[in-house]
């Protein structure tokens, strides 16, 4: 399995990627962290993690020559990719964080939590363990139950144009999209690498993904 399952965690200068790699290591899955274009080009599966500012994230992808390579791998080559947190948000068309365009792989936008709706009871960032409601069945959500809890830390969330791309929803003041998918592209707002056994289950599901 390992030989056909070379997983590369893309290092583009946005936050600490070690926790993602540690989880794979624990599961005896061969994963490397790399910013090297030739290494990324050889990957069978990709992870785009990231914590930080959307605009800075896009700029890093561009400056490192990753925009073209990712387009080629993911859109033309159908390589499975899992975006985590900022990584997921970068898949969308546009973000209010910096008012910049994203990769545009998923017909969606990234917006700040609407403070007027979520009221004073709910604080931003949304931080802590919250449940997911699975709205579409995919390999990523296999053996997960609605009400399984994942660890979240974010101030922005994704708004999809169509429910076809919505994988899970979560309620924090109001219901928002907490995971997205389209063909070989998966994105999760929460941190499976920090979500204990249930996060491990989800990472395992991605490893199995065709």
């Amino acid at each position: 399995m390992q030989s056909k399952n070379k997983i590369v965690v893309i290092d583009y200068g946005m936050g600490n990627l070690r926790s993602v790699k540690n989880r794979f290591k624990h599961m005896d899955v061969d994963a490397t962290i790399s910013s090297d274009l030739s290494e990324i080009a050889k990957a069978d599966k990709l992870i785009l993690p990231g914590v930080g500012h959307f605009e800075a994230g896009m700029k890093q992808l561009k400056d490192r020559g990753l925009l073209e390579l990712l387009e080629e791998k993911v859109i033309q080559g159908n390589t499975p990719i899992l975006g985590i947190c900022l990584g997921m948000q970068l898949f969308t068309n546009f973000s209010e964080e910096g008012n910049v365009e994203g990769l545009g792989w998923i017909d969606a936008q990234t917006k700040k939590f609407d403070a007027s709706i979520i009221q004073s009871l709910h604080k931003v960032p949304h931080m802590g363990w919250n449940s997911i409601n699975v709205t579409n069945e995919t390999v990523l959500t296999e053996n997960l139950d609605t009400n399984d809890l994942f660890y979240f830390v974010h101030s922005y969330h994704v708004v999809c144009e169509t429910d076809q791309n919505v994988l899970t929803k979560t309620t924090y003041g109001y219901e928002f999209v907490s995971a997205i998918f389209k063909d070989n592209i998966y994105g999760v707002q929460f941190h499976p690498e920090k979500s204990h056994d249930i996060g491990k289950q989800m990472i395992g599901n991605f490893v199995k993904a065709a």
């Binding site: 624990h26 919250n130 920090k194």
Partner: protein
């Protein structure tokens, strides 16, 4: 629904857990990595590591420890003790911590909170405040609770929030170790004054204290050390009790 968090705190000295622990059947009960794993299995929602002897010499030991813990632990964890600068915080976060906690250094130089939140985001920055009730006023104390400051708990907490604190960890010194319950009045006052999450510490003795905390104070999380270490309260049992009382928890 966002759940209430239960957070065990491990005091660290020279890379080992101090304030003995009572976990049986552990070959090295003082090993932070072993204890961290045990707490994760018990479904603790986060862990806090507090270096109680943070000196320059010890920082390398602490960074090594953070790396070892990060390798093993798949729940979020916070590291505090002796973090006086962005550079030190960066070392700890790069080693794998999810958040850093600052206390006296932030009180002495509040600008530190701003620097840390600008660099790492406010979600990374926990401001810990020790306070003691003296003649009906909650007075901030620094240097491990040894030095009384001329500042009220709520005033300092609000200032810390404005500067960019992502969470406030409030330890009620009067209640700490008494096992008589959390400092409910101070916590309610804090909760009304702040928008950021509040972690309550000090006074936990029974499951009912946690029920009272989450029902009546507005706190988002509870932190405790000895009741967990000495198994007076087991986290799985505590969470079942909380769930029975309709408090949302991760079971």
């Amino acid at each position: 629904m966002l759940v209430k968090r239960i957070i065990p705190c491990l005091d660290i000295k020279d890379g080992k857990v101090v304030k003995g622990t009572n976990f049986v059947n552990l070959r090295d009960a003082g090993d932070p990595v072993v204890l961290a794993r045990k707490y994760a299995q018990d479904r603790a929602d986060e862990l806090v590591f507090l270096d109680i002897q943070a000196t320059l010499d010890n920082r390398k030991t602490l960074v090594d420890l953070v790396e070892r813990v990060a390798r093993e632990l798949d729940i979020p964890f916070t590291v505090g003790g002796g973090i006086k600068s962005v550079a030190i915080a960066n070392e700890i976060l790069r080693a794998g911590a999810d958040k850093i906690s600052v206390n006296s250094a932030a009180f002495i130089r509040p600008q530190l909170i701003q620097e840390l939140s600008a660099k790492f985001g406010s979600q990374c920055v926990v401001v810990a405040i020790d306070a003691k009730e003296i003649d009906g006023q909650w007075i901030v104390h620094t240097s491990g609770g040894k030095v009384a400051q001329d500042k009220l708990l709520v005033d300092w907490a609000k200032q810390a929030e404005t500067l960019g604190a992502g969470e406030i960890l409030f330890t009620a010194m009067n209640a700490d170790g008494t096992k008589n319950g959390f400092a409910m009045d101070a916590l309610s006052e804090l909760s009304e004054a702040l928008k950021v999450p509040i972690i309550a510490s000090g006074g936990a003795g029974t499951s009912d204290h946690f029920v009272d905390l989450f029902k009546n104070s507005g706190a988002d999380a509870a932190l405790a050390a000895s009741v967990f270490h000495f198994k007076q309260i087991a986290i799985p049992t505590l969470k079942k009790e909380l769930a029975k009382k309709q408090i949302p928890v991760r079971l």
